[in-house]
Each structure stands twice: as C-alpha cells, then as structure tokens.
Symmetry: C2
C-alpha cells in the first residue's frame, strides 16, 4: 500500500467531482465547447444559478476556460482545458461501472 501517500490528490479530485452536476457538466463539455444555454438545455433540472456556480468552481480549478467572442451579440463559450479533458478515461470507466450496476 506504499502508494497511499497519493491520497490527498485523489481525495481532492473526488471532492471536486463529487459535487452535484459537476460530473455531468464535464461530460457535456467533453463533446466540445458549449454556450451556457447549450449546457443548461442538456441538464434541465439544474438551475442557471447552480450552473454559474459550478462554472466558477471549474474555472478556479483550472478545468475549464471561458472564451468571449466580441460579436454582436457577444458570444461566450466554455471549453475544457487539457486538465479537464484528461478526465475522459476516468469518466468513461465510471460510466461503464454505473451502467453495469
């Protein structure tokens, strides 16, 4: 069990991902950059206020970046960083487990 010095990082990952909606938001963004409304349409039971809060947490954690395109009207998109996209294999495994059980 000598790899157990790693657990703080592991716990941190779970604490972030364990928050309601976070896993789902990341899964939606794994399909490509999205606007606020695109994501809220995919997750109808999540309030817009909750989505704003999750975006802030994910930005602070370096998982997503916010792009502002100076068009009229302004277009804002959210995209996973390399760190965020790095979760894809873990998400896939977790989905397979959830489907099976």
């Amino acid at each position: 069990m000598e790899d157990f010095h790693l657990c703080p990082k592991f716990e941190q990952a779970f604490e972030l991902l364990g928050k309601r909606w976070t896993g789902l938001i990341i899964r939606v963004l794994l399909t490509g950059p999205k606007r606020f409304k695109d994501i809220s349409d995919f997750i109808p039971s999540m309030s817009d206020r909750m989505l704003s809060e999750r975006f802030k947490e994910l930005e602070a954690a370096g998982m997503i970046i916010r792009h502002v395109y100076p068009e009229t009207p302004v277009r804002i998109e959210y995209e996973l960083t390399d760190k965020g996209r790095g979760l894809e294999p873990a998400m896939t495994e977790l989905q397979m487990w959830a489907d099976k059980w």
Copy 2:
C-alpha cells in the same frame, strides 16, 4: 449525445463517491478485506464515527459486505462486493489523472 439518458446513474455514482473519505475507503478495501481498525489506521485524519457512517452508506449501496466471524473475541471484517470491486478501473484512471494534474 444520445447516451445522455444515462446521466442519472452517472450522477448517482458521483454523489456516492464524492462524499469525503468514500473514495479512499474503497481504495483501501481494493487491497483486500479489512477490519475497522485497519482502515482507520490508514486514514488517521478520519474519525471512527465518520468511518461507521461511511460503512453504513456503502453497505446500503451494496458496495461492501460485513463478515462476522464467531471467534473470541469476535472478528468483524469489511469486504468489497463485486459491485465495489468493479470500481477499480475507474479508481485507477482517476488516480492517474490526479497524479498528473
């Protein structure tokens, strides 16, 4: 995005695993059945009360089973079920991600 009907299960998985200590308890049990004290020794900053609570949640979710051996003194061990052990690939991927980032 047609696989998005799966999200309730995925969210449920994250809600269970996202609770503080749960991921770590499962990781310790992936190394084999353990007694209460074995686990609490591995996670010194978790209180015994918290561990009892997590055991109850994990038992209720069908992730662990409790074995009572009628010895003197009685020996009680906790073991992952097939469902619990099924998380190993996801845990491994998540650990790799956490190590990298």
